[in-house]
């Protein structure tokens, strides 16, 4: 099975600077593989190992995504090879544009059975790219994927939905977006990191790709800080522990926490 993992080389939130006005400043943050994407790498590796398949990393973005460190960071996480579209024309591109470039790159790679992606990127966190990518490709797209296993040429996909776990029989090709906690990704060790430098990397020229034209352009009219939660302190008299526990449960229910 030929599996592509679409990932983002994104600012590391650990280096984020939260300004007094609440703005999160990532301008001085060092970049890393976006926090939720290693889950997709791990799911892909397991699926490839079970099907004697291949895992290809794919990332698109500004020229800065193609550094020696960025290549090794991705390749040390279980990839067999890497494909990049690194062009400053994509600096600040919105999710629709990025999904279009990803779709063109997946087509250029050819014969891909599964595209796996993380839940969302750590910096933008819209969660739009995987399903927009599926739309561009004309493939089935599924979000909230918590497990995927091979069943012959098809897949069994589990989705973690608010109503419970849904188990689906899925035919390929398909785009799957994994939940952030679908699996615990393997930590890259020294051997993985050293081997990363020897794995093949292909850089595709943006101009050579048949990128679908976006039907519309997204315009951001305004941004606002998320509303802060309402905090309150309630003290219970614990002289009677059973009564205090009952009051606590009642208060939590009333607040919607239970």
């Amino acid at each position: 099975m030929k599996i592509v993992v679409a990932y983002k080389w994104a600012p590391n939130p650990q280096d984020a600077d939260v300004r007094p006005d609440g703005i999160v400043d990532l301008s001085r943050a060092k970049s890393a593989v976006s926090e939720y994407d290693p889950v997709a790498f791990e799911l892909a590796r397991r699926l490839a190992d079970a099907t004697s398949g291949e895992v290809i990393g794919l990332s698109v973005g500004a020229a800065s995504i193609d550094t020696s460190l960025a290549r090794k960071a991705a390749l040390s996480r279980g990839l067999d090879r890497l494909v990049l579209v690194a062009d400053d024309e994509l600096d600040g591109a919105d999710s629709t544009r990025l999904a279009g470039v990803l779709a063109a790159a997946v087509t250029a790679i050819g014969d891909v059975d599964v595209v796996l992606a993380g839940d969302s990127s750590i910096d933008v966190a819209e969660g739009q790219v995987p399903l927009t990518l599926a739309g561009h490709l004309g493939w089935l797209g599924l979000g909230r994927v918590s497990a995927v296993t091979a069943d012959g040429a098809a897949l069994v996909v589990e989705r973690d939905l608010p109503g419970g776990v849904s188990v689906l029989a899925v035919t390929t090709p398909v785009v799957l977006a994994a939940t952030a906690d679908a699996v615990v990704p393997k930590v890259a060790g020294m051997k993985d990191i050293l081997a990363a430098a020897k794995k093949p990397v292909e850089v595709l020229a943006l101009a050579d790709l048949a990128v679908p034209t976006a039907g519309t352009t997204l315009t951001t009219l305004a941004t606002a800080r998320p509303a802060g939660g309402v905090r309150q302190a309630v003290l219970f008299d614990a002289t009677d522990p059973a009564a205090a526990a009952s009051q606590l449960v009642g208060a939590l229910r009333q607040a919607g926490a239970l």
């Binding site: 890393a32 090794k72 930590v187 990363a196």
Partner: protein, 380 residues
């Protein structure tokens, strides 16, 4: 001079951060300290991620690794607040990989990969610590067997180890440098008894006395060459001093970070105490010591990697880092005030654990003895 990290070092440190966040949070370390338990599950996780065999030769499933990278990792693990968290296993493996026979190598590497402490070093005796020539534990070879008698004390991790790497003397050889040999003695061998020593620091590492009463084993328990025990042991002492220095650096950095964060938050007289110059003076001097330690550790590691003879460097580095790190932790404790000495505060644990490094692996004073005579020799 290039002070930058290589891609590989940077990625390895990021991987270690990931592992520490997942497998070694502060709550885990605090629990181990409180319950006096070793970090076995973290050791297993280190091994599963390939960190446990870093520096081992490839033929034993390891990945060769330079000393600079190893001290970077030791510093990072200890910066999490975990004492002796990384690197000492490598030293244990090296002792056996260099001098042990094949069955000893397989046994020790197997235990290491299971997250166990394979052996404790049986060196110190009630009458012999820094003065190793005063060692009295005897090893008498006879009929293909060897019989041990004597007492070892302050032996770290022996109660959780399967073996004791015992240093013992042939009473028939007068020259103490040729009398000591190295043996791998099972802790459950008949005649081996222990007495746990309770101490005020290093709670995740047990300490005990070990009594050897006519412990008789086949001569195959000898490690390396008979009479070369002390020389064999010394071979890895330079690297051990470096790992201890990196451990001190990491623990001191942890104490510094905690103190600086506390100083920025703790309000007295209407402002954070970090805005007072006396606190700033402490933090500044602590930062200078950390920078000195870091340069000392990295340069010593670089010397090892580049084959530059260390001479007195290892002893100088160990002495400086052990002392400076404790001074940093002591000032951190002062910044915390009364809160710092309460049980459960990380800074109190760091202060305790760092105190132990001023004698563990060689006292501050014996480092002067080692470095001082070398300095005089170099200038004679």
């Amino acid at each position: 001079m290039d002070f930058g990290l290589t891609d590989e070092q940077q990625l390895l440190l990021e991987s270690m951060d990931e592992l520490l966040e997942r497998e070694c949070p502060e709550s885990y370390i605090a629990d181990l300290d409180l319950s006096h338990q070793p970090p076995t599950s973290f050791r297993k996780a280190l091994d599963a991620a390939g960190f446990g065999s870093l520096g081992f030769p490839e033929e034993y499933g390891g990945t060769p690794c330079d000393a600079v990278t190893l001290v970077l990792l030791a510093e990072r693990v200890c910066r999490q607040g975990l004492n002796n968290g990384f690197g000492l296993e490598l030293l244990q493996a090296m002792d056996i990989l260099e001098f042990g026979d094949e069955s000893q190598k397989q046994e020790i590497l197997g235990l290491l990969s299971a997250g166990e402490v394979p052996f404790a070093l049986g060196f110190t005796e009630p009458g012999a610590g820094s003065d190793n020539s005063a060692m009295t534990t005897s090893a008498v070879h006879h009929d293909g067997m060897v019989t041990f008698n004597g007492t070892k004390t302050l032996i770290t991790n022996a109660l959780q180890s399967k073996y004791l790497l015992l240093m013992a003397k042939d009473p028939g050889v007068e020259d103490p440098r040729k009398a000591i040999s190295m043996y791998l003695v099972p802790m459950d061998a008949p005649g081996v008894t222990t007495n746990r020593l309770e101490k005020i620091l290093w709670h995740i590492s047990d300490s005990c006395e070990i009594f050897l009463d006519d412990v008789t084993l086949p001569e195959s328990c000898l490690v390396g060459v008979k009479g070369n025990g002390f020389k064999q042991l010394m071979r890895n002492f330079e690297f051990e001093r470096l790992v201890i220095a990196a451990t001190c650096l990491g623990l001191a950095q942890c104490a510094f970070d905690d103190a600086a964060t506390y100083a920025a938050q703790r309000v007295q007289f209407g402002k954070p105490i970090g805005s007072f110059q006396l606190i700033q003076l402490k933090l500044t001097d602590m930062a200078i010591k950390l920078e000195n330690m870091r340069n000392f550790v990295y340069r010593t590691a670089w010397m090892l990697d580049n084959g530059v003879p260390l001479k007195s460097q290892g002893a100088l580095c160990k002495r400086y880092c052990a002392m400076a790190a404790f001074e940093v932790a002591d000032e951190a404790m002062q910044i915390f005030g009364g809160v710092g000495v309460t049980v459960g505060t990380r800074v109190s644990r760091l202060w305790r654990d760092l105190r132990g490094h001023r004698f563990g692996g060689g006292t501050d004073e014996i480092m002067v003895h080692i470095a001082g005579r070398q300095i005089v020799k170099d200038h004679s």
